[in-house]
């Protein structure tokens, strides 16, 4: 079995070998040259053909941006950028504490590393940057760049449709993860008001003017209590030949969801495959193959990275692994181990079949970018 994200990369490689000009022109035609004006920056993710998906939570928009013009070199085994926070602060003219790396994405075709950065206090200024393995940080100018976008309706207050009521909408959908899966962009969100799940799937190239319908994702505990709970982070993965998402909820269980079930307006119940039993929230996940087996790496808010063996999921019976009560605080579901040597990992993204790129914070609070061997 090949993890789904890798399957996409293989597909891209074949497409670029054939290099059909007609196909390339059609792809370009979807993206219009012009200014992208981000109000904020949330998670970012690569799609096909150097397309970077960039989420804007305050603007309630999702952009597809052509980053083929980025000049930085690709990362490889051994690449390290020390004191990323200090360098970003120096480049952006800010205090290190006022610079936040919101997300990191790796272009699967070039291994270039792109950072979503927020500068400053308050709402801050969103900025998209490329980082070279030499440590050079450059802004990806959005003044004139090939892009397309779609609105992700930010649930207006019904009252706001009338006159004379509250003028501002304090509700904000924070995007917690974005990924391109099988011709669609999946966006996970967390509201600062209602708790309910708001996973959205958006066909790409973007078509509709607005895409506001969420999917109700439920998740059970011990096969008994279920909650319409927000998905925090997810990663595509094939189970028994079918595309799935492995998704982690805000309240810790790890579930699988068939991609074919992710239809707007539908109620979907994730199958709990592991309860990771930690007090923190998962930040990022990648899947990879090693030898005969597939694994999932999960970065958490403060624990070491978790490595989950996924091979049992390849059989349908593996999916039913947690439907009864787990006694005595034992770990339930698929086996996992905690890699204690990897502490303070704040961003995790796949570089290639053997490596991942991480943003890691040391004991002194300094950030660096490192390339690690997938364990």
């Amino acid at each position: 079995m090949i993890p789904f994200a890798m399957r996409i990369a293989v597909g891209l490689a074949i497409a670029s070998c054939l290099a059909l000009p007609a196909v390339a022109q059609k792809a370009d035609a979807k993206l219009q040259e012009g200014a992208v004006e981000l109000q904020s920056i949330g998670p970012i993710a690569f799609g096909p053909e150097h397309t970077l998906f960039v989420s804007d939570p305050i603007g309630a928009k999702l952009y597809a941006i052509d980053v083929q013009g980025v000049k930085s070199a690709g990362f490889e085994k051994g690449s390290t950028v020390e004191d990323l926070g200090g360098k970003l602060a120096a480049r952006l003219g800010a205090e290190a504490r006022d610079v936040h790396v919101v997300d990191l994405a790796v272009n699967p075709a070039t291994h270039q590393v792109i950072l979503a950065v927020q500068r400053g206090q308050g709402a801050g200024t969103p900025i998209l940057m490329s980082v070279d393995p030499s440590g050079e940080l450059s802004e990806i100018s959005l003044k004139s760049i090939g892009h397309s976008s779609i609105e992700l309706t930010n649930a207006p207050a019904p009252g706001e449709q009338g006159e004379g009521r509250r003028r501002s909408n304090p509700r904000l959908q924070t995007f917690t993860d974005v990924a391109y899966v099988d011709g669609q962009v999946v966006v996970a969100g967390l509201s600062n008001e209602e708790f309910a799940s708001t996973l959205r799937t958006i066909p790409y190239p973007f078509q509709k003017a607005s895409e506001g319908t969420g999917i109700e994702i439920y998740h059970g505990a011990h096969g008994r209590f279920e909650t319409n709970s927000p998905v925090r982070t997810f990663v595509p993965f094939d189970i028994a030949g079918e595309p799935h998402l492995l998704a982690a909820y805000t309240c810790t269980p790890l579930v699988s969801l068939p991609v074919s079930d992710l239809v707007p307006g539908k109620r979907v119940r994730g199958t709990t495959i592991a309860e990771l039993g930690n007090r923190n929230s998962p930040l990022d996940m990648v899947t990879y193959q090693k030898g005969e087996n597939s694994y999932l790496l999960i970065a958490n808010t403060s624990r070491g990275i978790m490595k989950v063996a996924l091979s049992s999921l390849d059989r349908k019976e593996g999916l039913e692994s947690i439907t009864s009560r787990v006694e005595g605080g034992d770990t339930a579901g698929v086996p996992y181990e905690t890699i204690e040597s990897l502490q303070g990992v704040e961003q995790l993204a796949q570089l290639d079949a053997q490596h991942a790129v991480i943003v890691v914070r040391d004991d002194a609070g300094k950030f660096s970018i490192q390339v690690i061997d997938l364990p």
Partner: protein
């Protein structure tokens, strides 16, 4: 107004003006011909002293005609802890005989910078500072909701309202939930992965870790619920928390409350008590919920339409510790039928919505019909 100063290292403090002088300074034994080069820091708008232009004069033509060389010829560094940090991002332009650098972002007040000119035969370095601004602490915690002093042990979220926009990042350092009996902080109560601000940066949503609330999950089994019935707690806000200007809060804040038994019931719209307003007045329409509802959601998810189905404009507020909704119309009530709409996603303070409990016992629940909005009707007589 555009201010240029050269050849004198003085601040024009009376008007917050500029700035620096930047006379020339050549390298030792420069290659001939030796030319003079100058660096100027210009503040076009004295009201915004951080928005500077750094101008280099006296550069050789070989540099001026080659835009590719500009980023290496003229750079500005933020002076800080480490000497080997990269220069500021910005744009370079040629203005007749000058090369002009404009930083991408305004320079920070009270900070020092070094402008550096490097070209064949020219090497100039100048340090300058953007004058600091004396800022008084202004921001305070204006309110915390739910406002009651007794809250259910399965409380899902708290809203902290500030009087001014706040800084983001690292906010959980400044918030403590203290068990008043033991005097100790409650272990890891919040879902910290995100900071849930409103767009204005004046309201922070604190989500109690759902894994500690939802029944049957390991975080709750290992660490127990965040709040325990009968115990008293204080939510404390550290005044060191900085606002969006980088200035600390004007004062500390504390909210004390006691934990009550868990709220395991959904908001029941059928049992709400309506107090009809008086026709031909703007007196408020009142709804008593019989329990505290989530303030933000109740303000957004309840609305009124008239007999024609038109939205009735007005102002909603919550009272009695968020157990009552008050709606004052912009225009006086007229006789006729009205309808109150309630979105099924409306939650109480424990995350139980009109549609479902926060965590549904699937062995006990009946599949509810899928309705988005519940409606209540009332009629005003002339």
């Amino acid at each position: 107004m555009k201010t240029f100063l050269t050849r004198s290292t003085t601040w024009c403090s009376a008007a917050w003006l500029l700035v620096a002088s930047l006379a020339c300074e050549s390298v030792t034994e420069p290659p001939p011909p030796r030319e003079e080069a100058e660096l100027e820091v210009v503040i076009p708008d004295p009201e915004a002293p951080g928005e500077v232009e750094v101008r280099a004069e006296g550069l050789p033509d070989s540099v001026l005609i080659d835009p590719g060389s500009w980023p290496h010829s003229l750079r500005v560094f933020q002076l800080g802890a480490s000497a080997d940090l990269p220069p500021l991002l910005g744009d370079w332009n040629r203005d007749e005989s000058a090369l002009v650098f404009e930083p991408r972002f305004p320079l920070a007040r009270g900070r020092s910078y070094r402008a550096e000119l490097r070209a064949p035969g020219r090497e100039v370095d100048r340090v300058f500072e953007i004058p600091a601004e004396a800022l008084e602490p202004l921001a305070t915690v204006r309110a915390v909701y739910p406002s009651a002093d007794a809250l259910p042990e399965n409380l899902l979220r708290l809203y902290v309202h500030f009087s001014a926009p706040m800084g983001r990042g690292g906010v959980y350092e400044y918030i403590r939930l203290v068990d008043l009996e033991s005097g100790e902080e409650v272990f890891d109560p919040w879902m910290e992965a995100e900071e849930l601000w409103d767009p204005a940066g004046q309201r922070l949503t604190l989500l109690i870790h759902p894994g500690r609330i939802k029944r049957g999950l390991r975080p709750r089994e290992e660490y127990g619920p965040v709040l325990a019935v009968g115990r008293a707690y204080a939510l404390r806000v550290d005044p060191a928390w900085k606002d969006a200007r980088g200035v600390s809060l004007a004062e500390p804040f504390e909210k004390r409350f006691e934990a009550e038994p868990a709220d395991m019931r959904q908001p029941d719209v059928e049992s709400w008590q309506l107090s009809a307003p008086v026709v031909e007045t703007k007196s408020p329409l009142k709804i008593a919920f019989g329990e505290a509802l989530d303030r933000a959601l109740a303000l957004r998810m309840i609305w009124v339409t008239d007999a024609a189905g038109e939205y009735v404009a007005g102002r909603a507020e919550l009272a009695e510790n968020e157990t009552m909704w008050l709606f004052e119309p912009d225009r006086a009530w007229r006789a006729g039928r009205y309808r109150i709409h309630v979105d099924q996603a409306l939650e109480d303070v424990a995350g139980n919505s009109v549609r479902a409990l926060f965590d549904v016992d699937v062995f006990e629940k009946a599949e509810a019909p899928k309705v988005e909005v519940t409606e209540l009707e009332f009629e005003l007589s002339p």
